[in-house]
Symmetry: C2
Subunit: 257 residues, 2 copies
């Protein structure tokens, strides 16, 4: 099976011309087939504010009303995505920007209203990876915006981490997939006050141990649970690292055993 | 050779949900392979105004400064393009939204400053139609936004009519191409005061005759010159028609002889 690396970067790095340029240079050094998934929340918040639309966040997720959906469709699918695509083309990478609506590659359903009404937010239901896989084998590098569609004419806002893990799982049918999450630290830390105390490898057994010992806690727990879920669904490994290390072996590897 | 119809629609039709829905329904009825090219100027102007950016037009073209480039990248490449793509997917058409940067399918150069500095406006230099053609043969319907790139990392604003004729000419290597321009009238009129006086067919000889007689005048002259240029470059025919007639035989056919 061919190797494929799917890198997810948050908004901060891709929204500044200088950090974006460095990221794309590092990304270009990754060997084998590649996919890039990006956020864009800071730009969305900034442009929403200029348009007089208040950004409401609950549990770190954006409440997406009709006007906010237009903003994220513009900003994620247009501004941020095309700047990345143009930047990759400039360094000889044949990038193709996609939302879930394009090629119907990722279909979602509007999240049911429970305690919180997230609005036009989509939970992923179906990933069509065949055309995506064909394009990748032709050396096309998909650049995935955090947007899906409901196949009934509506775009939906979908978290970039979710796009990354769902795409990685679907592409695992075609490739040996490494899913790489960029993070502000160099990896999962043994000691949160020591940025150099990166844990090299986490297996399910080690994860349980570290959680029991309080070494892994807070927001890192669901992040790692998602990583194990991806691995159980066929992804070869998940790496949590800092953006400037994506082309190295540094970071925390999450593996089956 | 397989038949392909490339339809160009202006902004007005694609920017209102109701007219967009009708357009996409009519578009879906066109037999054979298809491409859609869209504008979006009204939305760009409206969003620019909300962001406090004044829209300056010279000779019907938008002066595209740095901030305006961001707006058109968002609006054409994100908002308008993805609403069309999602709308097509909803009626079973496997649409793929593209700017010139995506797949590097259309490269341009920033227009040299002469009497007017148009800013970040691109004149088309190269169209790579091979991957596009492969996708079309897999029943993918490209939806082309009026944006190109310079292959040096910059998006550039490019007129939708130009995108349509350049894409049509390049695709003529792979398909028997009909290039269809949507217009507010049912076609080129024999008498501008009679909307029903549509000229069915214009050849180069008839064009000369109608211009000499003053029947064809004003902005229709460069439009038809561009049509003949496309035909001389391999496009089979150009049709000028009203958006609600794209799935019929109505309108004005521009042919070689």
């Amino acid at each position: 099976m061919n190797k494929l690396t799917l890198v997810k970067v948050g908004g901060k790095i891709v929204e500044e011309p200088e950090t974006l340029k460095q990221l794309l240079a590092d990304f270009s050094k990754i060997e084998g087939f590649k996919v890039l998934v990006h956020g864009g929340g800071r730009s969305a918040t900034a442009i929403a504010a200029k348009l007089g639309i208040e950004s409401k966040m609950v549990n770190g997720r954006r409440i997406t009303d009709e006007e906010t959906l237009k903003v994220v469709t513009m900003v994620y699918g247009g501004l941020v995505n095309k700047q990345i695509v143009a930047g990759l083309q400039a360094i000889g990478i044949n990038a193709l920007g996609l939302t879930g609506a394009d090629l119907n590659y990722m279909r979602s359903e509007k999240r049911p209203v429970k305690e919180v009404d997230y609005g036009y937010v989509g939970d992923v239901k179906e990933v069509n990876s065949d055309i995506l896989s064909d394009l990748i084998l032709k050396n096309v590098v998909p650049v995935l915006a955090p947007l899906t569609h409901d196949n009934a004419g509506n775009m939906l806002n979908t978290n970039a981490d979710t796009i990354a893990s769902e795409a990685a799982k679907a592409l695992a049918k075609h490739f040996e997939v490494t899913l790489m999450y960029c993070f502000e630290k160099k990896g999962v830390l043994m000691n949160e006050n020591d940025d150099e105390s990166v844990i090299n490898e986490i297996t399910p057994a080690l994860f349980e141990k570290y959680v029991a010992e309080g070494i892994i806690q807070g927001g890192m727990i669901p992040k790692l649970e998602n990583a194990f879920e991806a691995i159980n669904a066929g992804v070869k490994q998940v790496i949590i690292t800092r953006a400037d290390n994506i082309h190295t072996n540094l970071g925390t590897r999450i593996i089956k055993s």
